[in-house]
Amino acid sequence: MLNNYNGMAQPLWQNGPAPGEFYNFTGGQTVQKLPRELTTAGPYGTKRSTAAITTGSSVLGIRYDGGVMLAADTLVSYGSLARYQNIDRVFKINKNILLGGSGDFADIQSIMRNIDQKMIEDQCYDDNIEMKPKSLASWMTRVLYNRRSRMNPLYIDVVVGGVEQNGTPYLANVDLRGRAYEDFVVATGFARHLAVPLVRENKPKDKEFTAEEASQLIRKCMEVLYYRDTRNSSTYTVGVCTPNGCGVEGPYQVNENWTFAATIKGY
């Protein structure tokens, strides 16, 4: 039997009625079985706020022939208020992983504390083996999927980028439900509508971008996002990851030009 071999095997029957009992739609869970997250379980279950409070807007990631680039502006909003204007949302995780976070910034900080602790443990082994971007993305899917399954999601949408051990670039997106995919361009927030089509349009067939093309596209996209996304600021940081290591550069300033504004009439 499968169950005798590991403690990870799931019980055959979950959340259902006991044998011989009728299924009660509201009483399927007992108090002990309620999620063990921070809140105290009440006798009728728990109601949680799932609204995001302080939010980061878009993250854009582009994969090119020699690595990946991630960009995010430095604004963290409180509703429509531009509350924190100089916060870096692109993080260096280790020598070969970058992570860009959008969505509820408290949840980003929470997951970052977890990741940082993992990296410290990783370093403690002192075995010259570092976590790879694919592993982190996979780990993120499991954390986020389990949280959504307990109806207590982390309201975040992250981009994981980096370079695998053999030098191949890796870029993926993981959302709050644990949905994950890899592509040469991934984005969250408004960049999904505004930046992804711009980048796809410029993709040469059967060929990856060059570093030069990727950085040009990042610059262009961050400008478009600043003009059209109301929850964007004009400063942004860019994370670059290559086989030689990675780092976060900036903050850069969008090359803004409002001279055309005077010519717009009719509203």
């Binding site: 499968l2 071999y5 590991n6 799931q10 055959l12 029957w13 979950q14 959340n15 259902g16 299924y23 009660n24 739609f25 509201t26 009483g27 399927g28 108090v31 009440g42 006798p43 009728y44 279950g45 728990t46 109601k47 949680r48 799932t50 609204a51 899917t141 999927y145 959504r148 399954s149 109806m151 999601p153 997106n173 959302d175 439900r177 644990g178 949905r179 994950a180 995919y181 890899e182 592509d183 991934v186 999904r192 509508h193 796809r200």
Partner: protein, 235 residues
């Protein structure tokens, strides 16, 4: 339950169980077609991953090679697909280490049903079609509903354009509503199965916004899996 006083509340109105602002499910689209022949089986899936009007990726494979003779096509809620296929791979590896042989397609089919039914009260929101070569060397297709009902078939369509594709297969592969004597019906060759599967996807891409970009086709025989790609419209 009586100690908790549940019975004084009517069903569905207990505070704390409604979360209208978060849905754990999302439909990410995608379609699958599988056609079984005497000694082969063809399974095809498109490569578009979307939600609403967003196309997240234009080249996401939805076919999962579980063994050299079994391929699973899975669409629906992509997060659930990733979880389910991950769990299937773990359990198949465990079986291989325990019994020192690869699971047969029929065993995988049964296990998939059980794995899905395990989540009867919080289902995997996925449309699965399993294709493979059975232990007699014949091509088989198994199709599933989200809670694990399993049916063996010879051809099946599933996913977002499943309802569009199935009647075409009924006609072209099942020869339903065709007034021809049995001798004049075209035999089901590998080439014809691939051609019909390709055509259904080209048609589905015209009408279903969640199906498009390209199709990955796997032709499974006892000698291995042959992979083909077909471009579809990208709008």
């Amino acid at each position: 339950m009586s100690s908790l006083g549940f019975e004084q509340f009517p069903d569905y109105q207990v505070p704390g169980v409604k979360h209208p602002d978060f849905s754990p499910y999302e439909s990410n689209g995608g379609s699958i077609v599988a056609i079984a022949g005497d000694d082969f089986v063809v399974i095809a899936a498109d490569t578009r991953l979307s939600s609403g009007y967003n196309i997240h990726s234009r080249n996401q494979s939805k076919l999962f090679k579980l063994s050299p003779k079994t391929v699973l096509g899975s669409t629906g809620c992509w997060a659930d697909t990733l979880s389910l296929t991950g769990l299937m791979k773990v359990r198949m590896q465990s079986y291989e280490h325990t019994h020192l042989r690869t699971m047969t397609t029929d065993a995988v089919a049964q296990m998939l049903s059980i794995t899905m039914y395990n989540r009867r009260f919080f289902p995997y929101y996925v449309s699965n079609i399993l294709a493979g070569i059975d232990k007699d060397g014949k091509g088989v297709v198994y199709s599933y509903d989200p809670i694990g009902h399993c049916e063996r078939a010879t051809y099946r369509a599933g996913g977002s354009a499943g309802t569009l594709l199935q009647p075409v297969l009924d006609n072209q592969i099942g020869h339903k509503n065709i007034n021809l004597p049995a001798g004049e019906l075209p035999p089901l060759t590998k080439e014809r199965a691939v051609a019909v599967a390709s055509d259904t996807f080209i048609s589905a891409a015209e009408r279903d916004i969640y199906t498009g970009d390209s199709v990955l086709i796997n032709v499974i025989t006892k000698d291995g899996i042959e992979e083909k790609v077909l471009q579809l419209r990208q709008d």
